[in-house]
């Protein structure tokens, strides 16, 4: 029952919405089957499958809101969860920022489901681990990795007659490869919707190559360098910045997108004119649900257009207050670039540093989105178009806003996932000037 059909979901949701005596009612069903396998020190350490289905009910009496959830779907349980939400709503204080449930919408489906990913078996996961471990063992390397795959559905309905249903799949593989003596470390990550394009035995070679090549790293002086950030390295910084695109915070004067004297920087040139970031629920290879968390339809939306801030995230309350049209908040982040691969960018670099991956990125100053973090698992010095030698990891203190004003060249975007970001990204490898490294790390 973890993955319901549209008919099953509609039957339950219709019943639930019909049971509510509140002024309005929204019900949402979510279900998922997630599988994983974890390995370390060239051994499988854990593997498992987690299934879950849950019904959430939110009701409102005037501006008083109550929410309750349950994972049983017999009539008595449905009745219980509705009454519980109603009881909570009656006790809740009024929320002055309450916005009624969305009216009936039309959603254009997006391609979020892959039958191949949904069909992954425990044997498939065991093989991913075995392929990763086997390849590493044969070259005296040590693998530690994690594969997580899953299929899910989401369905919702409300008392305004709105309804949505769609299924999705995802696969995320990461593998850290270390030399036996611990002097070299490499990494590879693949984030996909369709497992057909994934081969652990092939992908792990990237991590193995970087592990072997990163031993005997030399120390360079910290300072400002031309860097090539691989897409996974850029994801940590750019993904972080997107949490601060809220219109309300900008309007309230507490964001890097606030303007001196009041107001926000919508329409202003904040980045290099080559920076184009947009969201598109139907993007090939990076599709997301065609609605946001409130049930508003997502649209193809420019976020940064030719370096100018093209859109900010408005909550429905803030849009109403500011007289703006509320649109679905983005579910993915897509950046345009060129046609070159990371290897092509290296070939065109006279002097620079290649960064495989960034790590433990945290905000230092929200005024400028100054972030700190470190390089990890493959940092190399480039000279005359070639990787010359591995270098010790650096700590950086850099703002993605400044970084995206220092672009030399952008490569071809690929799908990546940040360590801590919860949205799909397509980012290019990027060659950047004057990236600020502030200290050296002895970590391998």
């Amino acid at each position: 029952m973890s993955i319901m059909t549209e008919e099953q979901a509609r039957a339950i949701l219709t019943k639930v919405v019909g049971m509510s005596k509140a002024d309005e009612c929204t019900a949402q069903l979510t279900g998922s089957i997630d599988g994983n396998v974890r390995f370390a020190l060239n051994n499988v350490s854990t593997s498992g499958i987690v299934s879950n289905t849950e019904l959430g009910v939110q009701v409102a009496y005037g501006k008083r809101v109550g929410t309750a959830t349950i994972n049983q779907f017999d009539d008595a349980s449905l009745e219980r969860v509705v009454r519980r939400a109603e009881d909570l709503a009656k006790l809740a204080p009024e929320n002055p920022e309450f916005v009624p449930a969305v009216p009936k919408q039309t959603y254009r489906p997006s391609d979020t489901f892959s039958a191949a990913t949904a069909a992954i078996t425990p044997e498939y996961r065991a093989k991913v681990a075995a392929d990763s471990i086997g390849a590493c063992k044969s070259e005296k390397l040590v693998a530690a990795g994690f594969l997580q795959d899953g299929q899910s559905f989401v369905a919702f309905a409300n008392s305004n007659g709105n309804f949505g249903y769609q299924r999705g799949t995802q696969l995320d593989y990461t593998c850290t490869v270390r030399t036996e003596d611990g002097r070299g470390s490499g990494w590879v990550g693949r984030n996909l919707q369709d497992s057909a394009a994934f081969s652990a035995g092939t992908d792990v070679r990237t991590g193995m190559r970087k592990a072997a090549a990163s031993a005997d790293a030399r120390a360079l002086e910290p300072g400002k360098y031309t860097v090539i950030l691989e897409p996974a390295a850029a994801a940590g910084l750019i993904g972080f910045m997107m949490y601060f695109f809220g219109a309300r915070e900008a309007d309230e004067g507490r964001s890097f997108l606030s303007k001196k004297g009041g107001g926000n920087k919508l329409g202003e040139q904040v980045y290099d004119p080559r920076v184009n970031l947009y969201a598109d629920p139907w993007a090939a290879g990076a599709a997301v649900m065609p609605w946001d968390g409130d049930g508003l339809p997502r649209e193809r939306m420019d976020i940064i257009k030719d370096g100018k801030v093209a859109n900010l995230n408005y909550t429905r309350y803030w849009a109403q207050k500011q007289g703006k049209k509320a649109v679905g908040t983005p579910g993915n982040l897509l950046m345009t670039g060129g046609t070159k691969s990371t290897a092509d960018l290296i070939r065109g670099t006279e002097k620079g540093i290649l960064v495989t991956r960034t790590w433990y990125i945290r905000m230092v100053d929200p005024q400028t989105v100054l972030l700190t973090g470190l390089t990890r698992d493959g940092t190399f010095y480039i000279e005359n178009g070639q990787i010359k030698y591995p270098v010790k990891n650096f700590r950086f203190n850099e703002s993605p806003v400044i970084m995206l004003n220092n672009i030399d060249e952008l490569g071809k975007p690929v799908r990546v996932k940040g360590d801590e970001a919860d949205f799909v990204m397509m980012l290019p490898p990027m060659k950047l000037r004057d990236f600020t490294f502030t200290s050296l790390s002895d970590a391998v």
Partner: protein, 544 residues
């Protein structure tokens, strides 16, 4: 790594969307005060133990868990959300053919629990086929039927929502009245009702309580576009609602009048101070980068201890099991044998799961081991790690350290950080005495930004409040301070720790580790401590 999850917790409330799946089942407030019948828990546990044994498992433990949370989220004069959640179920772990197996169910019937025990046994037997070395479990004595409860005075779950809302809105009004432009305040209450049973003969019923009352005050200078925040100086604690009584005896006033808190917190007073200090930040001079002697308040130091001592001394990291996510450790096993000089002789750091009021305190850990306190760094020398039952033999230990934890009934328990604390100095020394001896320094209060590499060498920390020290005197509030360290050099630069009268805890609800990731709550205590010649950078930038 310490998660950014708290952003998510409050952000989700701000979004006002539906919550299923995120934090368990949403329930009515009155259900937060109930507990499950112990006899039912024992029946379920026995069903699992019997099924595991008859299925061929050599060891089995069962955790019947009910995990309750309450969030009250406010900003300015508004209550943004009140959420109560519950998650109940049974997790069963077995050893069969020398390998671990785990299964969990949310069905609370003997039949379902027995079926899960058989599934765990089957998984263990399958895992055994590829296992290179069988699990070696350090012995732990069965303790029969026992119980333990966090020694709380007032159960926070029993305090009416209205009282909590009134408290937070009063705090917000006070901050706004004192010059804040914006204020967010939150109450976050946790109750873990955990029943543990094992084939060793233990039936342990525990009722664990935690509370956290974070606040953020924002001050804005519209003309310049500058904004600054000051976070509250409270700590998440293993206490009841009495933590919010604001007892005068638990206040620690610094030589320049900043009030810090120990076992009791005055949220309203702190909000007023936060508003004034956030406003002062807008005009405070920017730090000149260079080497300074740092005087670190316990409200700050906890996070430095957490990242640079607590994590590198987790044995699973040292061995390489966390290489793909949280990372490994520079503090390798050979360093323990060599009594590696981790810090100066002023640095003695202990691990514990027993100290009253801490987030880690429990009677028994999640594999039934009685908890204790033990040294990690003794007079500056590395002497030990944090290990659980299947790791103890690696260190030649006869028993587990008792620091095994699972964040939910459906999660597998594994080694997690105990409370790791810097012991107070033996000689009498006050904060005023310590600052009086500093020629060119910075006094840092509260935790700020934090980041450390995957082997725990290179770290950078910010703070909430920074004060310049010149010739033994605090001169002015400054801004844009962060310090960078190399772990062993930093702890070897420790030249003094104030005495026990200054000892306080900080901590986190959100220490993340493992894949799939689990959260754990942990406290870190210290007295104010001095570190000489630390590299301070200036974090101010211009976006043009």
């Amino acid at each position: 790594m310490l998660r950014r999850e708290f952003l998510t917790a409050s952000g989700l409330a701000l979004g006002g969307g539906l919550l299923p799946g995120l934090m368990g089942r949403a329930i009515a407030a009155e259900e937060l005060q109930s507990t499950m019948d112990v006899a039912l828990k024992k029946r379920l546990a026995d069903a699992a133990l019997n099924a595991a044994k008859s299925g061929g498992s050599s060891y089995c433990d069962v955790r019947v868990g009910r995990y309750l949370r309450q969030f009250v989220v406010t900003r300015e004069a508004n209550v943004e959300n009140v959420v109560n959640t519950e998650s109940t179920g049974v997790g069963i772990r077995v050893i069969a053919d020398g390998a671990w197996g785990f299964a969990a169910t949310n069905e609370l019937t003997p039949e379902a629990v027995a079926a899960a025990a058989r599934q765990a046994t089957a998984i263990a037997k399958a895992n055994a086929k590829t296992q290179t070395a069988p699990v070696r479990l350090a012995p732990t004595p069965g303790v029969g039927e026992v119980s333990w409860r966090t020694p709380i005075v007032k159960n926070a779950m029993a305090v009416p929502i209205k009282d909590k809302v009134d408290l937070l809105l009063g705090v917000n009004a006070a901050a706004l009245g004192a010059g804040a432009n914006f204020v967010n305040s939150i109450l976050f209450i946790v109750n873990e009702q955990k029943y543990f049973a094992s084939t060793d003969g233990s039936y342990i019923d525990q009722d664990v309580h935690r509370i956290w009352a974070p606040l953020t005050v924002t001050a804005i200078d519209k003309a310049s576009g500058k904004f600054r925040t000051r976070e509250g100086l409270s700590a998440p604690m293993g206490l009841g609602f009495e933590y919010l009584d604001g007892n005068a005896k638990d206040k620690f006033t610094s030589p320049n009048g900043v009030v810090n808190y120990g076992m009791s917190y005055d949220m309203r007073e702190d909000a007023i101070a936060a508003a004034k200090q956030a406003r002062a930040k807008l005009t405070a001079p920017s730090v000149k980068p260079g080497r300074y002697d740092l005087v670190l308040d316990p409200s700050h130091t906890w996070l430095t201890i957490h990242e640079s001592v607590g994590h590198p001394l987790e044995l699973d990291r040292v061995l390489g099991y966390e290489a793909n996510y949280a990372g490994t450790s520079f503090a390798t096993l050979d360093k323990q044998k060599a009594r590696f000089p981790y810090g100066s002789d002023k640095v003695t750091i202990t691990a514990d799961k027993v100290e009253r009021g801490t987030l880690g305190a429990v009677g028994y850990d999640d594999e039934g081991v009685k908890t204790k306190k033990w040294p990690l760094i003794q007079d500056g020398k590395l002497v030990d790690y944090q290990a659980i039952r299947d790791q103890a033999h690696i260190l030649g230990k006869a028993a587990s350290d008792g620091c095994c934890y699972a964040d939910n009934w459906a999660s597998v328990q594994f080694q997690r950080m105990a409370n790791v604390s810097l012991q107070p100095g033996k000689a009498k020394q006050s904060v005023a005495d310590m600052i009086g001896g500093v020629e060119n320094g910075i006094y840092i209060i509260g935790d700020g930004s934090f980041s450390i590499d995957q082997q725990r060498y290179n770290a950078q920390f910010g703070g909430q409040l920074f004060y310049e020290i010149k010739n033994g005197k605090i001169t002015q509030q400054i801004e844009d301070v962060a310090y960078q360290i190399r772990t062993p050099e930093f702890w070897n630069a420790c030249v003094g720790v104030c005495d026990a009268s200054d000892f306080r805890y900080g901590g986190s609800f959100f220490d993340g580790k493992g894949q799939p990731s689990q959260s754990s709550a942990v406290s870190h205590g210290s007295s104010t401590a001095r570190f000489n010649g630390i590299n301070v950078i200036n974090t101010a930038r211009s976006l043009g």
